[in-house]
């Protein structure tokens, strides 16, 4: 009897903007978090109006980009990945959860290792994403601070 079966899917959807997904924004956000940690560390314990002002700005950008990173990953995870892909890549859910935790940890402090771990998890997320598209990836170090590795598609 149908009553015991799962309900059918009814689409309340949009065909237009959907389909444009790319983990690159999340990766750039993670790089930004690390860069801000570096800038804050380089400021040392400098007191005075200008250093205080600068640290406030770095902290704000770090906060925003950690949140942006979470947002971008959630959108791809929730809107792009389908159930069969989640089954095919069993590490995906753990990776997403790690990203959420590490991004929050990166907000709370200036521990660079948390930022690096965040970037690594976002890179793993990107690798899975590109695999689902059948696209090979490679790791490169972009020519700007914080000079850390990101996964990019070979297109």
């Amino acid at each position: 009897m149908r009553i015991f079966k799962e309900p059918r899917v009814v689409y309340a959807h949009c065909d237009i903007p959907c389909g444009i997904y790319d983990p690159h924004s999340a990766q750039v956000a993670a790089l930004t978090v690390i860069r801000m940690m570096d800038l804050i560390s380089e400021s040392g314990d400098a007191s005075g109006t200008v250093p205080t002002h600068n640290i406030a700005r770095y902290t704000e950008v770090k906060e925003k980009h950690a949140e942006l990173c979470k947002h971008e990953v959630r959108i791809i995870w929730g809107d792009y990945f389908k159930e069969d892909q989640i089954l095919e890549y069993p590490s995906l859910n753990d990776t997403v959860r790690e990203i959420m935790v590490l991004a929050s940890k990166s907000k709370q402090g200036i521990d660079r290792s948390a930022g690096l771990k965040l970037l690594e998890e976002v890179n793993r997320f990107a690798e899975i994403f590109w695999k689902t598209k059948g696209v090979e990836t490679k790791r490169v170090v972009p020519p700007y601070g914080p000079n850390e590795e990101i996964v990019i598609p070979i297109l």
Partner: protein, 102 residues
């Protein structure tokens, strides 16, 4: 008939993942009207879409999402015929708690 919503074109009334009870019999009692939330057979393919009736012109029913920016509807696929309307949404019987506290 029971349906589960996929997509956000009907937010905030119906969210992705909401489960709905839809009656095909309702429209045997009265004709569909503007404002009714309905399940329609997508004229471009077999799937079901959840939309609201915006206007009725002759025998064509023009449907649209509540969320116009995130909706593919009669603006794109044109009006639908009476027999493409599967039923009226009677009530929602399930929504994840997480949707309520975001």
């Amino acid at each position: 008939m029971r349906f589960v919503v996929s997509g956000k074109s009907m937010e905030p009334k119906f969210y992705n993942g909401d489960k709905l009870f839809v009656s095909p019999l309702f429209f045997k009692l009265r004709e569909p009207r503007a404002g009714d939330a309905v399940v329609v057979k997508d004229p471009r393919g077999g799937r079901f879409v959840l939309k609201r009736i915006g206007s009725i012109e002759g025998d064509r029913y023009f449907v649209r999402g509540d969320n116009l920016e995130w909706s593919t509807d009669s603006r794109e696929f044109g009006g639908v015929s009476r027999d493409a309307i599967v039923g009226k949404v009677i009530f929602r019987y399930s929504r994840k708690i997480s949707k309520l506290i975001k």
